[in-house]
Amino acid sequence: MNKNSKSFELLFRGLAILLAVLFASLVLLLAKANPLEAFRYLIVGAFGTTGKILDVLVSWVPLALATAGLLFTFTAGLWNIGVEGQITLGAVFTTAALRLLMNSGLPPGLIIFLAILAGALGGALWASLVGVLKIYGGVNEIFGGLGLNFVSVAITIWLIFGPWKRPGTGSMSGTEPFPRELHLPVLGNSNLSVWSLVLAVLGIVLVYILLRNTYFGLRLRAVGKNSRAAFLLGVPTNRYAMLAFFLCGIFAGLAGAVQVTAVYYRLIPSISSGYGFLGLLVAMLVNFNAIWAALVAFFFAALNIGSIQLPLMMRLDSTLSGVIQGSLVLFVLLMDGVRRRITGKR
């Protein structure tokens, strides 16, 4: 087989998936569980009924939005670890807007719309802060983002137990749920909101178009691959880095807004649910391609939902999904390295 062909690359991808499955099996065997049984429950748990599939989509929406945003920062060569905090701030801004407007007499649809916009703004502001710290303060975006993640959690806890606490005493279960008319409408008696699904699909399509064949996408790639050369060729590199953070923040903020308006209907302490970190894993796997990002995000969401079955049926912890996701990313990156070594490409 030709060593540089596409099929050679796919072979290594397949090998990586196989290794990840083997590794997960090994972990299961160590936990004295039958791997085949566990994988069967995973699949049934994710796709067994229509309701399950819709649940997967509920989990897919915020993950897809966060990943779509991260494609901007990845393309620009930036490690936006702060995406978790940006999701959280999106949720905080959405909650604030809803609280502010809920008694204003405006039509509920408009209030929800404004609240989601506020979420996008919150995420964008929080991400811009990382960008400003990096570009004007010389703070590496990994440290800036990590620090701001902690701050965002602190803000959430403070709001839940302080200014926004439930009547009586505040609790870890979050703020007072919003009335029904301020929820995004759901499909039948499922948990899936068509509006949020549309939002995520639109987001993916938009990122796909922007990064594929536009001047903006090309300049962003140039900054990511060699920012010094891009600067000498006339690309305003700082502006594009800022823009990447800002756009990523918008998408992360939207993910947070969806969590409030379509999933929890209130602000809870861990509102980001780890979708930001999971999105980083997805983005690492898909090589800047938004369509692949959507598919891999769907697979990861299915693992999340499917693994809920494990504690019920086999008394295993549901974190097995995390083991599979993590090992998958590691093996894909590892096999990429092996392939490069074989083909002699650096």
Binding site: N213, T214, A222, K225, N226, R228, A229, A230, L233, G234
Partner: protein, 491 residues
């Protein structure tokens, strides 16, 4: 220790960096190694100190043939090297740096080391505080530390690579004094430099390198002309030249002063006429690059003004300079010039300012193919730049230059290229001159400078010569100035 090198060869790809070098250095002497950048002197020293291995040849120490594979090996044999930029650890204390290279156990014998450190300092008259942090020391003091560290580790041969760069005159005097004492103590000193004056004032014998070969060994009394001639070869014929300059000033420097960590350039005044070519000569690190970057707005001047087309560019950044038709072409093609991972077509799109949101792939491909034909680039519009050869990358960089341009600034435009590629690139650049573009370029190739420049500026340790007319300047005169001689008439 007697050092003998026999028939040393070293290739880097096509470049024959050391070509059959045979050199005998007796114990207790100071051996000078003189040559241009790229003459092969550093390569030979790296082979002797274990950083790299020779392709073939022998190294003999005190009559015994040895194989040196690492720097640690070299120091075990008694060979220590002082690098041009000290390889030390600025955030650590002096004494920690001193102990660092010592082989041995988990816990260094610190108190003993401090005592020996103080003894050595006392012996050579160095005033170093063992508890000071290294970053508070001057380059000269760091050299002193490095010298006694190597002696402490048992060095009997000391190699010094361009040690007088970046230290004060007083420290230089102290350094030379120390080296003479060391030679009396029967140490072998190898002194690598391009500064004629230093070599003449210090060395018992000088070996001159040119293009990978040892072209001559000279003993005192030294004649400067002889050294210059050995270093740069015989005078070249300028060939046919065509002056493309107009009487119209494109860029004007008024009282420009610049500074970086190593160098200061003071009060430069210069007028660059349209269509004119100015070559910047000098050893690498003498200030040419700093000067060139300032002309592009990549380095802020301390004082003075750069005026382009009558507009004062003070405080403006590179992109503002670009808007005024100034472009910088760096030497590091894949690090600064091009973007590995992107195709030629994508580079063409990036380099042009076109309105619109979507890229018109069809017309961009057509434009790229036109440039590929015009610049004889071996590749296609979809070729990634890192897959092109060096010459093709350089042609691609030229193809990316916008039109029209006021001033092109080039770092080493033909470095690493074969003769035909170099001639072709200059013919393209001269075409630009005929379209009223001025060129300022850096080169370490004197022939290139003499052949293609209208005027030459020589740099030496941050000093800048007056513009020399290339047509009437000789290699010998340039060589002297580059080596730091004959500057009196310039001050």
């Amino acid at each position: 220790m007697n050092v003998e090198l026999r028939h040393i060869h070293k290739h880097f790809g096509k470049v024959h960096a050391n070509n059959d070098i045979t050199l005998k250095i007796p114990s207790g002497s100071i051996q000078g190694i003189l040559g241009e950048n790229g003459a092969g002197k550093s390569t030979l020293m790296k082979i002797l100190s274990g950083f790299i291995q020779a392709d073939s040849g022998e190294i003999e120490l005190d009559g015994k043939i040895v194989t040196i594979t690492t720097p640690a090996d070299a120091i075990r044999y008694g060979i220590g090297m002082l690098h041009q930029d000290p390889l030390d650890f600025p955030p650590l204390k002096v004494i920690d740096n001193f102990i660092l290279g010592q082989p041995g156990g988990l816990f260094p014998r610190r108190r003993q080391a401090v005592k020996e450190f103080m003894d050595l300092c006392g012996h050579y008259g160095f005033k170093l505080n063992p508890e000071a942090y290294l970053e508070t020391l001057t380059v000269g003091e760091r050299q002193q530390l490095e010298i006694i560290r190597l002696l402490w580790l048992g060095a009997k041969v000391l190699i010094l690579d361009e040690p007088t760069t970046g230290i004060s005159a007083l420290q230089k005097e102290k350094l030379f004094e120390t080296l003479k004492v060391l030679a009396k103590e029967n140490k072998t000193i190898i002194f690598v430099s391009h500064k004629l004056e230093d070599v003449e004032g210090l060395c018992d014998r000088v070996a001159v390198f040119q293009r990978g070969k040892l072209v001559g060994e000279v003993k005192p009394p030294y004649k400067t002309e002889e050294l210059v001639q050995l270093m740069f070869g015989k005078a070249v014929s300028p060939g046919c030249r065509e002056y493309t300059g107009l009487n119209d000033i494109a860029v004007k420097l008024e009282n420009l002063s610049l500074e970086d960590a190593r160098l200061q350039i003071k009060h430069v005044n210069l007028e660059i006429r349209r269509g004119e070519v100015i070559g910047l000569a000098g050893m690498e690190g003498s200030g040419q690059r700093l000067f060139l970057r300032a002309l592009a707005g990549l380095q802020r001047p301390n004082t003075g003004r750069i005026v382009v087309d009558g507009v004062d560019m003070s405080g403006k950044n590179y992109h503002a300079f670009m808007k005024h038709g100034i472009t910088y072409v760096p030497a590091a093609r894949l690090e600064e010039g091009l973007i590995p991972g992107l195709s030629l077509m994508e580079h063409v799109v990036l380099s042009e300012e076109k309105p619109g949101f979507f890229i018109d792939t069809g017309s961009a491909t057509a434009e790229t193919n036109r440039k590929i034909d015009e610049y004889y680039i071996r590749g296609t519009a979809a070729s990634r730049v890192e897959a092109l050869s060096g010459g093709n990358q350089q042609r691609a960089l030229l193809a990316l230059l916008r039109s029209p341009l006021n001033l092109v600034l080039l770092e080493h435009p033909t470095r690493g290229l074969d003769i035909e590629s170099a001639i072709w690139i200059w013919s393209k650049l001269k075409d630009r001159c005929r379209q009223c573009t001025s060129i300022v370029f850096i080169s370490s190739d004197l022939e290139e400078i003499l052949q293609y420049s209208d005027y030459i500026l020589v740099f030496f340790g941050g000093k800048v010569s007056k513009p020399l007319e290339a047509a009437t300047t000789s290699v010998a005169r340039l060589g002297e100035l580059i080596g730091g001689k004959g500057w009196e008439e310039h001050s």
